[in-house]
């Protein structure tokens, strides 16, 4: 099918884009188009206006900040995949990006677009949840910082206002002695994950877990940190079987089922993914802690 008619706008500055959003009705913002274009082609959405951010150079770039990494919202997934700075400062993001789409879609798909589209099974929102990322949203009337945990408002819906654009995504650096891992299960490589997990584990030189973060995706409308699983680990001395208890806490969380994957299967699988992510993160944390 073909998109319904719309008026296309191609601002060259952020200011022009914000002006358009403030003025126009029934607008969609076009980032990389790898989710919005299918929705337009299938006529799942039929905006009167499309505002393309593709020519706004100030929205592209990867930079090191005092406490981590900041990415312009229009930075492509491919640029993230190739960035040595991302590998060094935010290795969880590098590990996850391998699972995002195909090279043909990563060449155009952007981090800001993925976070705003909020597909329940998408990798980048899960990484943003695990790392407690901050989004910078700008409108004509000002700018605000939004913790990613507060960003989703429902299925494929963020709390972004219609006149706002996400311009920047900030990821805090990992504490010393922190291991990371991203794992997912999909029927074929690059398919949407049935369940995915991201884990961060900080282990000190006495082998005590100082901090744990576990986020899972695919269970509900948006990725979630699982506090019960994190609490099962923090303060504990590392031992065999400990991580399985965190996996069990994840598997006890409610999950939505669909025609292909019933909720029990998804819950079980989320527990397995969480345990595998934790094992991988623990291996990395413990080898880092003894350096």
């Amino acid at each position: 099918m073909k998109p319904a008619p719309f008026t296309y706008h191609c601002p060259e500055t952020l200011g022009e884009a914000l002006e358009l959003l403030a003025r126009l009705e029934n607008v969609r913002v076009l980032a990389g188009g790898q989710s919005l274009m299918p929705m337009l082609n299938l006529r799942l959405v039929a905006p009167d206006h499309l505002v393309d951010l593709g020519r706004i150079e100030e929205l592209v770039g990867i930079e090191q900040t005092a406490d981590g990494l900041a990415l312009g919202a229009m930075t492509t997934q491919r640029a993230i995949e190739r960035s040595a700075l991302v590998r060094e400062r935010c290795p969880l993001l590098s590990e996850a990006i391998e699972h995002v789409g195909h090279q043909q879609t990563r060449n155009r798909g952007t981090i800001g677009g993925s976070l705003c589209h909020l597909d329940p099974a998408a990798e980048l929102p899960l990484v943003a949840a695990a790392l407690d990322a901050t989004l910078v949203a700008v409108s004509k009337s000002g700018q605000r910082r939004i913790r990613f945990a507060d960003f989703p408002a429902g299925y494929l819906t963020s709390q972004l206002r219609h006149d706002e654009i996400v311009t920047r995504v900030e990821f805090p650096a990992l504490r010393a002695g922190t291991g990371w891992a991203f794992v997912e299960l999909a029927r074929r490589p690059a398919d949407f994950a049935i369940a995915a997990a991201a884990a961060l584990l900080t282990v000190d030189s006495a082998d005590t877990i100082r901090d744990a973060r576990i986020a899972v995706g695919g269970l509900g409308p948006a990725p979630l940190r699982i506090a019960a699983a994190e609490q099962a680990l923090i303060g504990q001395k590392y031992r065999d079987g400990l991580l399985a208890s965190a996996g069990a806490a994840v598997a006890a969380c409610p999950a939505e089922g669909d025609a292909l994957y019933p909720s029990d299967y998804r819950r079980e699988l989320a527990g397995v993914m969480a345990k595998r992510a934790l094992e991988k993160a623990a291996g990395r944390a413990r080898s880092a802690a003894y350096v």
Partner: protein
């Protein structure tokens, strides 16, 4: 609805056309320029049949508006063989290894492999790398083995 005048380069030749805002790049190439080698399979970014190169980077032509190609350089399957009709080495390898049958997915496969070849240069690739690169191109005839064999014959280590 809006109309736009776009200037771009397609297979090295400059083009200037007026198009409707909602026309996607694959339809522009096929209907306006008559370059019907870029095939449309699913038209929502899943099958990879419409893969073209945009400023050298592979992209789904159904997931990009023609107006977004303004000022860009597009390469399609029509620009791949030599002017005298001699096949590109990737096309020849696909023919030699039974890497195509009905041919519907082949233009997308060729464009993906051209990007892979340019990016990896002389470095030898292993089978997982080749399969990962091809994961965005669906083929219903070959079971992929012939395509992978062709790619490995060109840029793999023969073991």
């Amino acid at each position: 609805m809006s109309k736009h005048r776009i200037k771009l380069t397609v297979n090295g030749s400059p083009q200037e056309h007026e198009i409707e805002s909602r026309t996607h790049l694959a339809d522009f190439l096929r209907h306006e320029l008559g370059l019907t080698g870029t095939h449309i399979g699913c038209e929502h970014g899943v099958c990879g049949a419409c893969t073209v190169l945009v400023d050298g980077a592979s992209a789904r032509a159904c997931l990009m508006l023609a107006v977004q190609a303004n000022g860009r350089s597009i390469e399609t399957i029509e620009g791949v063989a030599a002017p005298d009709g001699a096949l590109h080495p990737i096309q020849a390898a696909l023919a030699d290894h039974h890497g195509l049958q009905c041919g519907y997915c082949t233009p997308g496969v060729v464009m993906t492999l051209i990007e892979l070849q340019r990016e990896t240069g002389r470095r030898q690739l292993d089978e997982p790398e080749v399969r990962r690169a091809l994961s965005g191109n669906l083929c219903r005839c070959t079971g992929y083995q012939g395509i992978v064999d062709a790619a490995l014959a060109l840029f793999g280590s023969k073991t």
